[in-house]
């Protein structure tokens, strides 16, 4: 079966003062449908840049990127936006919600840009909210929700479009350990229901919840292996 996504030697550089930093250097990666992948690394290892590249928020300087078999590295911004709204759901470290929209309206946002009819939007938003366990909170404002609840709304927004790929950048970074655990359980549920998830994190215990772990260091893949039950990546230089 065709892989969901495949990068072939993608590289992304940033100017930093007088020098140029290779944030992502010659990374080749293959993710199949239904995988739950954690990209691990310290800050500055290039993991966020890699996720932005995979999420089509950034364009690689070189290399090729195939998403669902389509070469997308050199597409125009408009076309990448179209793919983003149809195939990718984003979860960020800070729960970014529109403060003046209710939970349901926030979840509907991707559907608005995808041109889904109003009546259908509300139904699908409710389904998504239900699946993250917040069915009762649909008409609350973001400010009335706890951090964990806000992050659940963000997850509902990420899955409402039924995207082929869910990208999560430090999804538990701003949460306490108990709430983090709930969110990660939610990811496991989503994974079990057949969704493909790529999660970026710096924390070993978070990465351990994924089925596969990719360790990134200085923009290059250091290790790429299945998670062992006892945490086999303990020797990774943390």
């Amino acid at each position: 079966m065709q892989p969901l996504l495949q990068t072939v030697g993608i590289t992304k550089c940033y100017p930093s003062g007088a020098t140029i930093i290779r944030a992502v250097s010659d990374v080749s990666l293959l993710v199949r449908h239904g995988e739950f992948v954690a990209i691990r690394g310290r800050s500055g290892s290039g993991k966020s840049t890699l996720m932005n590249l995979v999420g089509l928020l950034e364009r690689p300087d070189s290399g090729e990127y195939f998403l669902q078999g389509q070469a997308v590295a050199k597409l125009s911004e408009e076309k990448r936006a179209a793919i983003r709204r149809q195939a990718i759901g984003f979860i960020f470290q800070l729960p970014v919600l529109l403060p003046r929209a209710t939970a349901l309206e926030n979840i509907e946002l991707p559907l608005i840009y995808a041109g889904v009819a109003r009546s259908q939007r509300r139904r699908r938003a409710k389904d998504a909210l239900d699946s993250v366990g917040l069915a009762e909170r649909g008409h609350h404002w973001p400010s009335q929700l706890s951090g964990g609840e806000q992050q659940r709304v963000v997850i509902a927004r990420a899955i409402v479009n039924d995207p082929a790929l869910i990208l999560a950048d430090e999804p538990t970074g701003s949460l306490d350990s108990r709430t983090s655990d709930e969110i990660l359980s939610l990811f496991e549920d989503l994974h079990r229901s057949g969704r493909t998830i790529i999660m970026v994190t710096h924390a070993t215990n978070v990465a351990d919840r994924a089925q596969r772990q990719i360790a990134l260091h200085d923009g290059q893949i250091l290790k790429d292996e299945a998670t062992s039950p006892q945490g086999a990546l303990a020797e990774f230089p943390e």
Binding site: N52, G55, L57, E58, E77, E78, A81, A82, R84, R85, Q86, F90, F92, V96, L97, L98, R100, A101, L109, P110, I112, Y113, A114, G115, R157, N161
Partner: protein, 411 residues
């Protein structure tokens, strides 16, 4: 994304900052209000002038007695009783372009009919006067030559008199007394509305000139009054107006034996000229004010742009989020452009309403016809929309060019 959807997003964003939105559009409101008000006032004043010129009668000249027209202070007309019926007759007889020259003698007098009374202007004329003023009789008839020649006690009344004395009844055939002299009503005049001095032209009664001299006006004073209030002259051709004016001047100077460069003991007015000049002055003032208002519109546009730029910066994260969940750059561009457009259009609408209200108030105060031209409102709204777009493009463009990653990182 549909335009309706964009509009919903834009109105919500504006509604979240109501005070700021209101203050932002103030410049546009003031500008549009001023433009609508001035266009309406200009149109109203113009209509008033044309209406007054129309009710004056075409190609009318007035010869007034006794005004000192030379350098120095101008005395009020009529201070010297210098015009006579013979002058009127001579003008009519000697000058080819004069269609009629109608003498008029008047004063305010009390009228009595049954138990009602009313003080009005009683004017002695012959039927030429109604020709000069192009004044129609809607009910009854004008004076016959016989009535004018014999000094009959018949009267033609204005529409105000019918209302005040006869409660709106037909009036013809009824009797009224002017002073102590009983008169029979033979005709009712068509409505003319307000005259040049904003006094109703319909509050008047006309009697034959001879009757006025011998029985009414003269009798009050105890002597027969020869001097006229003024002579109304209808010129047959508009092109001959100024030439005829000079000929009348020459003729009357000769008749009154005024020599050399001595000042005339009469003056000749072209009342339409006066009204036209007044209309032109109002129009010029209007154009100046519209020019000032346009500056306010531009300033209003700049404040719209300023606030839109602030708004784009404030909502950088929102823009990043929208882009991440699939908004295209075009969607973002439209969102902010529509926001600016709605701001400006609301300003335009509020301004148009305020301007129209101000125009109504001013027109009412000045006694002008109220003329809110829909054209002015369409123009104002169109112009404010144009301002919204032209001053909204740059902020919207900045929003659309944001890098989604940078935007999301923006705290």
């Amino acid at each position: 994304m549909s335009p309706l959807e964009s509009m919903g997003i834009a109105t919500r964003a504006l509604g979240a900052n109501k005070l700021r939105s209101a203050l932002t559009v103030l410049g546009v409101v003031v500008g549009v209000a001023a433009v609508v008000c001035m266009i309406s006032i200009g149109a109203g004043a113009q209509a008033e002038v044309s209406e007054k010129i129309r009710t004056l009668g075409a190609n009318l000249l007035l010869v007034l007695p006794g005004a000192q027209n030379s350098n120095g202070a101008k005395l009020q007309s009529g201070t010297q009783p210098t015009l006579t019926e013979e002058d009127a007759a001579a003008i009519r007889r000697e000058l080819a372009d004069v269609q009629v020259a109608a003498p008029l003698l008047s004063r305010s007098m009390p009228l009595v009919a049954a138990n009602r009374n009313w003080v009005t202007l009683v004017a002695g004329i012959n039927s030429d006067y109604l020709v000069a003023r192009e004044w129609q009789i809607v009910n009854g008839r004008s004076f016959t030559d016989e009535e004018v020649g014999s000094g009959a006690k018949v009267v033609i009344v204005g529409s105000v008199i019918v209302e005040e004395l006869f409660d709106g009844r037909a009036g013809v055939g009824e009797t009224l007394r002017i002073g102590n002299v009983p008169f029979t009503v033979i005709g009712v005049l068509d409505k003319k509305g307000l005259g040049a001095a904003n006094r109703s032209q319909d509050d008047v009664v006309f009697i034959p000139l001879l009757t006025a001299k011998s029985r009414v006006l003269g009798a009050v004073r105890g002597t027969t009054r020869e001097a006229l209030d003024f002579i109304s002259i209808k010129v047959s051709d508009a092109a001959a107006m100024s030439e005829t004016q000079q000929q009348i001047e020459a003729l009357l100077r000769q008749r009154h034996r005024i020599r050399g460069d001595a000042p005339s003991d009469f003056s000749i007015d072209n009342p339409a000229d006066v009204l036209t000049a007044r209309g032109a002055a109002v129009r010029l003032l209007g154009i100046l004010l519209i020019a000032v208002a346009s500056v306010s519109l531009v300033v209003g546009g700049i404040s719209v742009m300023n606030i839109m730029l602030v708004s784009v910066t404030e909502r950088t994260r929102e823009i990043g989020l929208r882009m991440a969940v699939g908004a295209s750059r075009r969607d973002i561009l439209w969102q902010f452009l529509i926001e600016a457009l709605i701001l400006a259009l609301m300003g335009g609408l509020v301004g148009a309403v305020l301007g129209a209200a101000a125009a109504v108030a001013i027109a009412w105060e000045a006694g002008w016809p109220i003329l809110i031209s829909p054209w002015a409102i369409v123009l104002a709204c169109g112009f404010s929309g144009l301002i919204g777009i032209s001053f909204g493009v740059y902020p919207a463009h900045r929003a659309a060019r944001l890098d989604p990653i940078e935007a999301l990182r923006f705290a």
